[in-house]
């Protein structure tokens, strides 16, 4: 085999991956174009900004979730962590903690939850599905217990205004996606532990025998996921202005769906950061568009489900051919 054909094959392979990224982006753009032609209100500044705000939080969750899924795990708790962290943030703010302290403590809670997941999986040997399902239900319970089922109103304008304000023409919330996305991209694709996440997801034993600290890698993936969720909890508390443990219901499924639409394989070792981000905004656009087109919200759920099947099916086809 000549070197020409070799490099051609490599180019073809990597361009196929890029192409998939572009197809998703193309799908997103196509949806936007169709919506801007069929509705008057889609291509308005207000709506686009709103869409960006809506998609941002799921996008950040999806990035965290992707780390876990690449290790062949799953994190079902992220929605509950978001809700729980809105309560923590609201409680801290109403007890005269500074915004800075609130942010640090809330993120710390996220780290602790992630470490607990790591402990359950690595030390206790529980399946990720079980341990994160357990925290899903308990965190909602703890949040309700602490607040006695009530909602805590946040009366800190600096905090709540953050989510409504813009910076250089883009909503602050969208900037937060970039703030998380860029380091996440560098971490996953260019750092040593990012690679270890793939190695653990592909073959844990082979990774271990290659000197990979498997336990630390698992801890890391779950901690990153929970920390992303705690961060989203802060953003949601700022956006809605209340702390309530029952918020963000079902967001874990949206995060998983975004990740999977973005090309992450539930069998592990396949995934990226940009894929889930685009996936999250595709989901947000579907919901937004359906609202604008006055589609029954029950139908939105059905359409979302069908779309997940369709996108992942075509992705699988592509992989099999490659």
């Amino acid at each position: 085999m000549s070197t020409d054909t070799k490099s051609a094959a490599v180019v073809r392979k990597s361009s196929a991956n890029w192409l998939f990224g572009l197809t998703l982006l193309g799908l997103l753009l196509a949806m936007c174009i169709v919506l801007s032609l069929t509705t008057k209100s889609f291509m308005t500044e207000a709506n686009i900004m709103n869409l960006m705000r809506q998609g941002s939080m799921i996008a950040i969750l999806a990035v965290g979730e992707t780390f876990v899924i690449i290790t062949t795990g799953i994190d079902l708790s992220v929605g509950a962590v978001v809700g729980f962290c809105t309560v923590i943030a609201a409680w801290l703010l109403t007890h005269d903690f500074s915004i800075f302290a609130t942010v640090i403590i809330t993120l710390g809670v996220g780290v602790a939850i992630g470490m607990f997941h790591g402990f359950g999986i690595v030390q206790m040997g529980l399946p990720p599905f079980i341990i994160t399902l357990a925290t899903l239900t308990s965190l909602r319970g703890i949040g309700l217990l602490v607040t006695n089922g009530a909602t805590i109103n946040i009366v800190n304008d600096t905090f709540t205004e953050f989510s409504r304000n813009d910076f250089v023409g883009l909503p602050n919330l969208f900037w937060m996606v970039i703030l998380v996305g860029v380091p996440a991209y560098i971490f996953l694709h260019h750092s040593r532990y990012g690679r270890y996440i793939f190695a653990v997801g592909s073959n844990m034993e082979a990774a271990r025998l290659s000197g990979v600290n498997v336990k630390l890698t698992v801890y890391l993936a779950y901690t990153l996921s929970s920390t992303c969720a705690a961060f989203v909890g802060l953003l949601l508390a700022a956006r809605i202005g209340v702390g309530n443990a029952m918020q963000a219901d079902g967001w874990e499924l949206q995060a998983i769906a975004s990740s999977v639409i973005g090309g992450t394989s539930l069998f592990g070792a396949v995934g990226s950061v940009h894929g889930p981000l685009i996936g999250a905004f595709i989901l947000a656009t579907i919901n937004n568009g359906a609202n604008l087109l006055n589609v029954n919200s029950f139908w939105q759920r059905i359409i979302t489900g069908l779309l997940i099947i369709l996108i992942v099916y075509f992705d699988q086809l592509r992989r099999r051919r490659g």
């Binding site: 073959n203 034993e205 025998l209």
Partner: protein, 510 residues
């Protein structure tokens, strides 16, 4: 218990059953894009023959098997089953005809019992319920009848890989099989298990089943087969009657290299002491005392499950030792993790490529560099250029046949995968290399390359522990040979100081 060959009548029965073609290939051809995996081949299989197929890895053997079992479809050519052209487009169609394959890696359900596996897809059902007791009894009587001393009620996963292989064969033999393909069946078998398997193969042959037997072990081909076909670079270069050919001819047809060149042994003066164990015990082995010097190969021979792999896994920090001590370059060490072993200068190429050696669905370059990411990391990041250079140098040094470092390991042939299992350690600067079954399922050409690589490592001042269940390999290569039996180091011999028979009987324990 001794691995003798009670059956010597293979040739006679072959003649009687010959000349009834069951499957005929006419110009069978397969292309994958630009790759010509199988060039037009004409071949006839007759009823009740044992037809061996030999060739190096990548010679087209797997392609041929996949075509015959309907896993892939042909590019052109014809397949005739009992004289009728057939499509053979799906595995289901192949099974309908009675074409089955027993693969090197067992594809059965580890979490089900032996009996459940034997009847999987063909369960005995009464009133809609499984008749488990009945199936276990039936399975047990089949196993007893075959002379396998294996229980039918245990979970398949509790058996050794070799025993699972026997179950897979037994399963194929009870399903109305008329054409049975074996792909490297003895790769993981002990001599006793292999003898049982051969007995079963001969029994199937007497029943008129056509056997296609693929193996890298030529002595098995001569022991078992009636005819042998040779593939080289996707071309069927010839078919011989086994009794009328010899190893030299087969090898020269497979490659252009003579037998003497395969075992490449160089002698180096023993250097400084690298590793010493004193009465080391751990999970699966006990009381092992041995030492490795620079420039030396220490061979560990034994049957599968003799504790050799467990011993080296403990040396590498995978399992904790339970007693005894390890000295590294004269100093006592307590190896607690793989990373610690690597930092000392120990490298381990483990036994099972698929389970322990490789991240199969990740790229070639990723796998090659996985152990050295800490070395090439700068400020927490892996520089793209270092990543690429290291991988590409290793690919060209080892002559790995791949479309590039970005290709997935799963797309490579077995021999090339094995090169990666070994190659990932060569960048690491280790002093002691442990190779656990480095040539299992590897073709003659790659074997020779691996042996030359061992010599190169020794020349550079490294020491080697070589584990093999294939006696000629450790016998020809090891400066000191240890024989393991049931977790104990039962004998040691200097180079060529004992005969094959002696060593084998020490390993079996007669």
């Amino acid at each position: 218990m001794v691995g003798t060959n009670p059956h010597g009548q293979a040739a006679e029965t072959a003649v009687a059953a010959a000349n009834v073609p069951i499957l005929e290939l006419r110009g069978l051809e397969k292309r994958y894009g630009a790759t010509h995996a199988l060039k037009p081949a004409d071949l006839t299989f007759v009823r009740g023959e044992i037809h061996a197929i030999v060739g190096e890895n990548g010679a087209g053997k797997s392609t041929l098997i996949k075509l015959l079992t309907g896993v892939i479809t042909r590019t052109s050519g014809e397949v005739l089953w009992e004289g009728q052209p057939v499509a053979l487009a799906t595995p289901h169609e192949a099974i309908e005809f009675g074409i089955n394959a027993v693969h090197q890696e067992v594809v059965l359900c580890r979490h089900l019992t032996v009996a459940a596996n034997m009847f999987l897809g063909d369960e005995d059902v009464g009133f809609g319920l499984l008749r488990k007791g009945e199936m276990t009894r039936k399975a047990q009587s089949i196993l007893d009848d075959l002379g396998f001393q294996l229980p039918a009620h245990v979970l398949l996963g509790d058996l050794t890989i070799g025993q699972q292989q026997l179950i897979a064969t037994a399963r194929a033999s009870i399903r109305g099989t008329r054409f049975l393909i074996f792909d490297e069946p003895t790769a993981y078998l002990t001599r006793t298990e292999a003898a049982q398997l051969f007995a079963l193969i001969r029994r199937l042959k007497e029943r008129g089943v056509t056997i296609v037997y693929i193996s890298h072990r030529l002595e098995e081909v001569f022991e078992l087969s009636d005819r042998v076909s040779i593939l080289r670079d996707g071309t069927l270069v010839g078919t011989r009657i086994t009794a009328e050919t010899n190893e030299t001819e087969l090898i020269s047809l497979m490659i252009n290299r003579s037998l003497e060149q395969i075992y490449h042994k160089e002698f180096f003066p023993a250097g400084d002491l690298l590793l010493e164990t004193k009465n080391l015990s751990g999970p699966g082995f006990r009381d092992v005392s041995l030492s490795v010097r620079a420039g030396q190969i220490v061979g560990l021979y034994g049957l599968i499950g003799a504790g050799r792999s467990e011993f080296v896994l403990s040396l590498f920090g995978r399992h904790r030792k339970t007693g005894g001590s390890i000295f590294w370059q004269g100093k006592e060490v307590d190896i607690r993790s793989e990373r610690q072993a690597m930092d000392l200068g120990i490298a381990l190429a483990p036994e099972s490529r698929r389970d322990q050696g490789l991240c199969i669905n990740l790229p070639v370059g990723f796998n090659l560099n996985l152990p050295i990411f800490p070395h090439i990391t700068m400020a927490g990041l892996v520089p793209f250029s270092a990543d690429r250079q290291r991988a590409e140098r290793q690919i060209s040094d080892l002559q790995v046949k791949t479309s590039g470092r970005g290709a997935l390991v799963s797309s490579l042939s077995g021999g090339n995968q094995q090169k990666i299992v070994i190659g990932k350690w060569l960048n690491h600067g280790a002093r002691l290399f442990i190779f656990d079954e480095p040539t299992v399922g590897v073709d003659v050409g790659t074997k020779a390359e691996i042996y030359r690589l061992l010599a190169r490592l020794l020349a550079e001042g490294a020491g080697i522990i070589l584990i093999s269940s294939y006696l000629p390999e450790v016998y020809e290569l090891a400066d000191e040979l240890h024989v393991f039996r049931r977790g104990e180091d039962v004998a040691r011999h200097a180079y060529h100081a004992a005969s094959h028979e002696e060593i084998l009987s020490e390993a079996i324990g007669v």
